[in-house]
């Protein structure tokens, strides 16, 4: 699919004159935007594993909120996931998997369960204490990602999921679900009657909870498996890691995206599986665009003055995502990326902890070091998406036709144009000294 063909492409085309010509040549050779070094590989795989454990909680809780908490007006315990959802078998892991991506177990990861029981304080306090002390998996990051997808969904022009949320069919489905959920609650039903659009908008957001939960249900076992393969020596280079992701993307592309609500034993299909919304087009690509590229000016990372024009007027011009984010102020204000870094800190593999201890300030700035590694790993994921899109829309890298190779190059160049912005971190990740 993405075999290495540096020689044939370079022989048939003159060198690119793009600002990131070296990176484009690397992509044409089947590589990633991230340089192929053992240090990079160790960082990205270690981070995939550290990310996958909290992600195993994120997807379960996102689905729990979408399917059970739903429109609870006082959702104080929405992060207190039920045992059913912790035991819920992942569709891509374990014996019961539809497609077994990870050879491990289908229920929640053991490291996650251990952390949920004791937290970093290593004490068996009541769950509420752990929660209030932030000694828990921080769902704030997951919700921020979900909101980015919701917010940018209208603007990206991708897929049909978002458009469906405005359809009459969706309104009727949502109406049925709302009425069922608030059955016997005249106060909330009265409010619904007064402000139907407000309730509907909340349900749309919950549909994105479900969307993101279903997306991460796939990614968690993918990352777990990559970590295991690395430990076994079967992933030995950055292109190996990227190709595993590309293959995974295609293997799972058709996974349905839906939103169900459970009231008692009754299931209400708000976004039915039968609509045929596919994982690749309705979750993966919108996620990459909304979260990796755009997101929003997170409170606390940096002060943005909208009136001074520091925030673009058009959402499509937003570039605050992980590929652009300044990782240095991480830890400043309890902001979602910081909380993700805090989550990942708990599950770092030993080799990465040892690696971080040898650089910069060791233990003291591990949050920043791992956030930079996370940025590297997401450049690898984005490379996989770019290669997957090229595979889907254009030509193989070993195509003998120079015009096809030229089309591939134009595609790569247009993708990398987005990293010409000064705040892009693509330049930094080319160096190992960026930590």
């Amino acid at each position: 699919m993405t075999t290495t063909l540096a020689a044939s492409t370079i022989a048939q085309l003159p060198p690119s004159t793009h600002e990131f010509a070296d990176i484009i040549h690397r992509l044409e050779s089947g590589g990633a935007m991230l340089p192929d070094t053992p240090e990079n590989l160790m960082q990205i795989i270690g981070l995939y594993k550290a990310y996958a454990v909290p992600m195993d909680f994120y997807w379960r809780d996102l689905l729990y909120i979408a399917e059970h908490v739903f429109l609870n007006p006082l959702p104080f315990f929405k992060y207190f996931i039920s045992q059913d959802y912790l035991d819920r078998p992942n569709h891509y892991a374990g014996e019961t998997a539809d497609l077994r991506v990870w050879r491990g177990r289908a229920s929640a990861h053991p490291e996650l369960l251990e952390f949920m029981a004791k937290g970093e304080t290593r004490s068996k306090l009541p769950r509420l204490f752990h929660h209030l002390w932030h000694d828990r998996i921080n769902m704030e990051f997951a919700e921020e990602c979900m909101r980015s997808m919701l917010w940018h969904g209208r603007d990206m022009g991708m897929g049909q999921f978002d458009a469906y949320l405005d359809s009459e069919e969706y309104r009727q489905n949502a109406d049925r679900a709302i009425k069922a959920y608030f059955k016997g609650n005249p106060a909330m039903l009265g409010l619904y009657k007064l402000f139907p659009e407000m309730f509907l908008e909340q349900v749309r957001q919950l549909s994105y909870y479900s969307n993101l939960g279903l997306f991460w249900e796939v990614m968690a076992p993918v990352f777990f498996e990559m970590s295991d393969l690395y430990d076994e020596g079967k992933i030995a280079s950055v292109p190996d890691a990227m190709n595993f992701l590309v293959n995974g993307i295609f293997a799972i592309a058709g996974r349905p995206i839906y939103h169900h609500l459970y009231v008692g034993d009754e299931c209400y299909e708000i976004v039915p599986k039968s609509k045929g919304f596919m994982w690749l087009y309705e979750a993966a690509l919108p996620y990459v665009e909304a979260v990796f590229y755009r997101t929003s000016p997170f409170r606390g990372t940096k002060s943005y003055n909208a009136q001074a024009g520091q925030v673009p007027a058009q959402q499509k011009d937003f570039h605050y995502g992980v590929l652009y984010a300044d990782k240095f102020p991480v830890g400043s204000a309890g902001i979602p990326p910081t909380l993700l870094a805090q989550d990942m800190l708990h599950f770092l593999p030993p080799y990465l902890v040892e690696y971080y201890q040898q650089h910069c300030r060791g233990e003291d700035d591990m949050l920043v070091q791992l956030a930079v590694s996370f940025q590297r790993s997401m450049y690898c994921v984005t490379s996989a998406v770019i290669q997957a899109l090229r595979t889907a829309l254009l030509y193989p890298l070993d195509d003998p036709n120079p015009e096809h190779l030229l089309a591939n190059r134009k595609f790569f160049e247009s993708q990398l144009d987005r990293f010409k912005r000064s705040e892009s971190r693509i330049r930094e990740i080319q160096s190992q000294e960026y930590r």
Binding site: F328, V330, G331, C360, R361, V368
Partner: protein, 502 residues
């Protein structure tokens, strides 16, 4: 009792310089720190024995030395000297704590610092003019060597400039002392012998001018200040702490002890001009600081401005203003030591002192948050924010001076406002804003970096909240000093007598 404060550090310097080369740097440093710690404890014990209700000299010591020259070993401490001694002992200890653990030629370095400590203590304690001059000059050579060997940018230039200026200062002071004794035909150079002698007012003015210019170079006052920025910038952190915290105080102490103390009549007449001079120094120092791009140079210029408050208080000659001026000596020493120590840590960790380079140091993970926080506290103290030692001292000076010199005091208040301006610039550029990714790989700040600053910060805060511990030592002495002064109104109305009592 007092001799220990001089000879313990001097003996320590001799021992340290003779240590075998096999002694590690850490051992030599630790030995020097312990020794100065012992001197500090001895000073604290002296403070506990000091009678604050007595305005005269206490713990007096006398030993004939070269009687034909009128030079004898006479020591004593009053309320003015005791606080200066405490400041000297404390800041020497702090300077050693803030010294680098990898200083080259440690035996020479630490022995020179100990020699300075002993020399400065001797100058504060000396009750003989020649003995004072001996100690006053004794510290120059160690300072010259410390700057020229362990300094940074343009160290040779700065050290030579420092030597020329301060040697000139010494010559003027010696001329003043010799003139005083010869013209009054005093029996010897004893301070007490000189007191009570008569001298025509014109001659008093000449001698006072010699002393004021001599000590004014040391403080320094504008326009004799040009050695200071170069020297302070070139000196290493422990040396600049001693330069700003202790050596400059020799100048203000000299003004109080020998200018104000020996020539009250002339001082009273000259005081409006001195107050104006103080206001000019304050405003010049503040405005020059605003224009700086180098934070060490900015703090150096701020020192010029702050020393002006001491002269203003001394010129005003009210009990409150004098207490304020002495308090300002202590507060300025502590605050300047804190600021210079922190600037030194920033320079070591970041590798720059430039405002255009530094940014975002408050960043909690990759910045220097503890250092930046303490820098904010130091800047607040220097700007005279209530609750900190700097406020108490400045407020007392303003309160005590306004009735006598309203315009000069108001100008000084504007100077305080300007202090806030340059410190806001400094803090805004260095501590706040976005940390630059390209340079933000600073080493960790260790406890050894933070400890001296924390000790200073605690003391600044304590003296700000409990100012009685700042003023109680000197109040009796300064009140007695004011009582000896002629009535300013009479001096202005009536022609000065042809000869007056010193």
């Amino acid at each position: 009792m007092l001799s220990a404060l001089i000879w313990l550090p001097v003996l320590g310097a001799a021992v340290v310089s003779c240590l075998p080369a096999s002694q590690s740097h850490q051992q030599i440093r630790a030995g020097a720190v312990w020794l100065t710690g012992g001197v500090l404890l001895w000073t604290i014990w002296l403070l506990t024995q000091f009678d604050i209700g007595n305005s005269g000299l206490q713990f007096r010591e006398y030993l004939p030395w070269i009687e034909t020259l009128g030079l004898n070993y006479e020591l004593g401490a009053d309320g003015l000297a005791i606080v200066m001694l405490a400041l000297n002992s404390f800041l020497t200890w702090i300077a050693l704590l803030s010294s680098s653990q990898t200083t080259e030629r440690p035996r020479l370095f630490y022995s020179l610092i100990l020699l300075i400590s002993g020399g400065v203590a001797g100058a504060f304690l000396a009750q003989n003019l020649l003995l004072f001059f001996f100690f006053y000059e004794l510290v120059l050579v160690p300072f010259y060597l410390l700057i020229s060997i362990w300094g940074s940018d343009k160290k040779s230039y700065a050290a030579t400039k420092f030597l020329i200026y301060t040697a000139t200062s010494g010559i003027l002071i010696l001329a003043g002392f010799l003139g005083l004794v010869w013209l009054t035909k005093a029996a010897d150079f004893s301070y007490q012998s000189v007191l009570g002698q008569t001298l025509p007012l014109g001659l008093q003015f000449i001698l006072l001018a010699l002393l004021i210019v001599g000590f004014g170079i040391k403080i320094p006052l504008v326009p004799f200040h040009t050695w200071l920025p170069d020297t302070y910038v070139a000196a290493s952190t422990p040396v600049v702490i001693l330069l700003g915290g202790v050596l400059a105080k020799l100048g203000t102490y000299g003004i109080f002890r020998f200018g104000l103390g020996l020539f009250p009549q002339a001082w009273a007449i000259a005081s409006p001009y001195l107050a104006t001079w103080a206001a000019i120094s304050i405003l010049y120092g503040a405005m020059a600081a605003i224009a700086q791009k180098d934070i060490k140079r900015m703090v150096a210029y701020s020192s010029i401005g702050h020393m002006g408050y001491i002269l203003l208080g001394a010129a005003a000659l009210t009990p409150l203003a004098l207490v304020g001026a002495v308090s300002q000596m202590v507060a300025h020493g502590l605050i300047l030591a804190l600021l210079f120590h922190l600037v030194g840590v920033i320079e070591t960790k970041v590798g720059s002192r430039e405002l255009d380079v530094l940014n975002g140091l408050l960043n909690p993970i990759r910045g220097l948050p503890s250092v930046a926080s303490l820098l904010i506290l130091g800047a607040m103290a220097s700007a005279g924010i209530p609750g900190l030692a700097g406020f108490i001292a400045e407020f007392l000076v303003f309160q005590g001076s306004y009735a006598v010199f309203p315009w000069q005091t108001l100008l000084a208040v504007i100077g305080t406002g300007l202090t806030a301006v340059y410190f806001v610039i400094l803090l805004n550029r260095t501590c706040f804003g976005k940390l630059d990714n390209k340079i933000a790989y600073f080493p960790r700040v260790d406890w050894s970096d933070k400890t001296p600053a924390l000790i200073l910060a605690v003391l600044i805060l304590f003296l700000g909240i409990q100012p009685v511990w700042l003023v109680r030592w000197t109040e009796t002495t300064t009140t007695a000093l004011v009582a000896t002064m002629p009535d300013r109104a009479i001096v202005v109305r009536v022609n000065a007598p042809s000869a007056s009592v010193l």
